[in-house]
Amino acid sequence: MGRMVLVARLAVRDLRRRRVETALLLLAVLAATTTLTLGLVLREAAAGPYQSTREATAGPDVVASAQLATLEKLATASGVAAYSGPYPVVPSELRAAGRTSDVQVVGRDTASAAVDRPAVVEGGWAGDGGAVLEAAFARALGVGVGDQVTLGGRAFVVSGLAVTAATAPYPGGSCYVTAGCASGEVPEGTNLPAGLLRDPGLVWLTQADTRALSDDVSYVLNLRLSDPAQARSFADAHPSVITHTWQTVQEEATELARDSQILLLIGAWLLGLLAVAGLAVLVGGRIADQTRRVGLLKAVGGTPGLVAAVMLAEYVLVALAAAVGGLALGTLAAPLLTGPGAGLLGQASTPVPTVATAAWVVAAALGVAVVATGIPSLRAARSSTVGALADAPRPPRRVGWLIAISARLPASLLLAVRVAARRPRRVVLGAVSVAVTVSGLFVLLVLDAFLASRSGTPAYGQAQVEVLREVLLVWTVVLLCLAAVNTLVITWATVLDNRRSSALARALGATPRDVSTAVAAAQVLPALVGAALGVFPGGFALFGVINLITGGDGARVTMPSAPELFALVAAAVLAVALLTGAPALLGSRRPVAESLRG
């Protein structure tokens, strides 16, 4: 116990002594844990509006569509606790504000029923000559209460907008008509059967108005079961009827959240990688700076195990704080990305993360900390006590072939290559950091272009596009911030590590500009390699993974053109150059004599 208290006390004191570094460490892990939490809680958060709509509208457990006689028998089947209908449904075409859309028209004289009572969110219910439009469909068409629309050539006034839990909001939705429905994009050249409805919206009319529209009438029956959990079994037990269970409707209604969740989880992985890269450099530099402290600990009897425990404890404490912070921030932010769509009621409540979610986030944070700090901590623990007390800096690596090649380069590049060659692990971490960022940006470009091309089309409603764009924006901002922090951290670590050799180079005739250019170029050269790898294979591979997980059709998206990819690489390299410029310049301004003395 006493040993643990000692370790904790030493760790906390060192963290307090280096507040800026501690804040950077916390920031890096916090970004990853927040994104991970967002991804994990999103699904539960998104299910909220559907559940509240289901409760407010007495949502059915099963919706069945078939011929009248079949449905009348089904209404009395075993397990049915209540029902409404059967209601007539006809296919039709709606014209409004210069736009045309296929629709399924359901005949309801009144919204009130034992099961499925569509909730009017604007206006009133349909009377003769009046039409109620499903809210998400109305929004997609740009139609409001009081507008005139034509259905099958007959004029109707929009009397109200309503939501229901019997079907997913537009552009999703169940198909009730006998002709069938097709949703989403249809490849060019595909011959669809005559009468098939394309991405139909949902309209409620009176039963008389409905029947007057078409002779092709089918029926829907809304069922409440005595055990809603058995909805799927009930549906399986009646194969002659087309059924839609509340679970499938919910899945369809929350599909958007699932897409967001997948994007956020992949984003969390990317940010986790960035956090590992940034942390490893920070910790490496920090432990190099703690050499003397390690020597003192060992000189007063600390075992290598104790030294490693003190080193690790610092980062474990930071990781735990970041995990708690990430859980809180992610949980609070989730509802912002899962606002109830136009077709659902209620606000997404602030969900309490499940134990599993909390465990995942804490494990990820600890994993990031241990992966990033394990090697430097063990190295410090194993160092010689005498060497550590003498505060001997970690000897630089020698990469003979790079030194030989660099002799042929101009002074700045010669020094840059040698600066990079001194710490190959840091160079790799820098390149990985840029590669991960560029891969993320590549995918963002692809998804953004995809969303832009789908905006306002039936395949992706405007509301969905907006939510997914918000998710992408969160991704982009966090990714770029963390990448910028990483670049600054890596550059500053390089500046500090090269303080003496840079001063020596100046004493031997290099100009301050040579030295600052060298430090900046030592980051820019790996950044160039990282950016190129981030596009290929990084970006393509990441997009492939996302496509595989989401089951998307990669052929439907447009990959960035060669000039766009070139611009992406150039922008990444330019950003790194700008970010490294200031610390490199600051480092080169320190007087030579002072650096050589220090």
Binding site: I403, A507, L508, G509, T511, P512, A593
Partner: protein, 248 residues
């Protein structure tokens, strides 16, 4: 031995370097005048903290004076820009440091050739020159060794070779034997003696009377000012080891 000649390679007038302000003001170098002629070796001795190293840094352009003038080869250099100073250090000045300051990841020959590469010499010419200098300091067989595999004396000899690689008009040495044992000190003493004999112009800051004895002139410094100046008759020719007590 080389006596001072009329046109000094190095000239300092009323040179000052101050740190701090008010009551905390410290005059590390206080109104110092110095002339060093071509081929002359000047040793500066004094207790720790008397301003010897600061003086050397000012003369070599590694530090900026608070006042006064520094002239090198007839040109005033105390007010010139960092870029010009760097060019000057590259071509006209060679430094030898007490702590050697070799790049740990570079071999002996790579360390020596570095200033030549920075000065824009071709890799081949730089390497040839570096190898010749290592041969001159007796380390031809250690050219591919890393500094960590060399003794203190050998490291300092590499540092001396590096200081000479661009054939500077002035060599500034800061406690060149300060980190060495007796045997290594003798190696370096002999090397400086040979440099002196070859006509190099040098300013050596040292605690070590034996290395000061290799000079033409000995200046004693205390509290930032020159308090004594002695012309050493006979210089070092042929009698270095005996003077230093390291030979019979």
């Amino acid at each position: 031995m080389n006596d001072a000649v009329d046109i000094p390679v190095l000239r300092a007038r009323r040179l000052r370097r101050e740190y701090g302000t008010g009551e905390g003001l410290v005059r590390a170098v206080d109104d110092v005048d110095l002339d060093v002629g071509a081929g002359e070796t000047v040793a500066v001795m004094g207790p720790s903290g008397c301003g010897k190293s600061t003086l050397l840094h000012l003369l070599g352009g590694l530090d900026r004076p608070s006042g006064g003038e520094v002239w090198l080869n007839g040109g005033r250099v105390d007010g010139i820009g960092e870029k010009s100073l760097a060019r000057l250090r590259r071509t006209d000045i060679g430094f030898v440091f007490q702590a050697f300051h070799l790049m740990e990841e570079l071999t002996a020959v790579e360390n020596v050739e570095l200033p030549a590469l920075l000065a824009g010499r071709s890799p081949r010419a730089a390497r040839r020159r570096a190898e010749r200098l290592l041969e001159r300091v007796g380390l031809a067989d250690r050219a591919r060794f890393l500094p960590s595999a060399l003794s203190g004396g050998q490291r300092q000899r590499v540092a001396v070779a590096r200081a000479l690689v661009n054939e500077p008009s002035l060599v500034l040495a800061d406690e060149p034997t300060g980190n060495l044992d007796s045997a290594a000190t003798l190696e370096v003493l002999q090397l400086f003696d040979s440099l002196h004999g070859a006509g190099h112009t040098m300013v050596i800051v040292t605690h070590d009377a034996r290395i000061a004895a290799t000079a033409d002139r000995l200046i004693t410094m205390r509290d930032g000012v020159f308090v004594d100046e002695t012309r050493l008759t006979g210089g070092t020719s042929g009698r270095l080891g005996a003077f230093a007590g390291l030979e019979d």
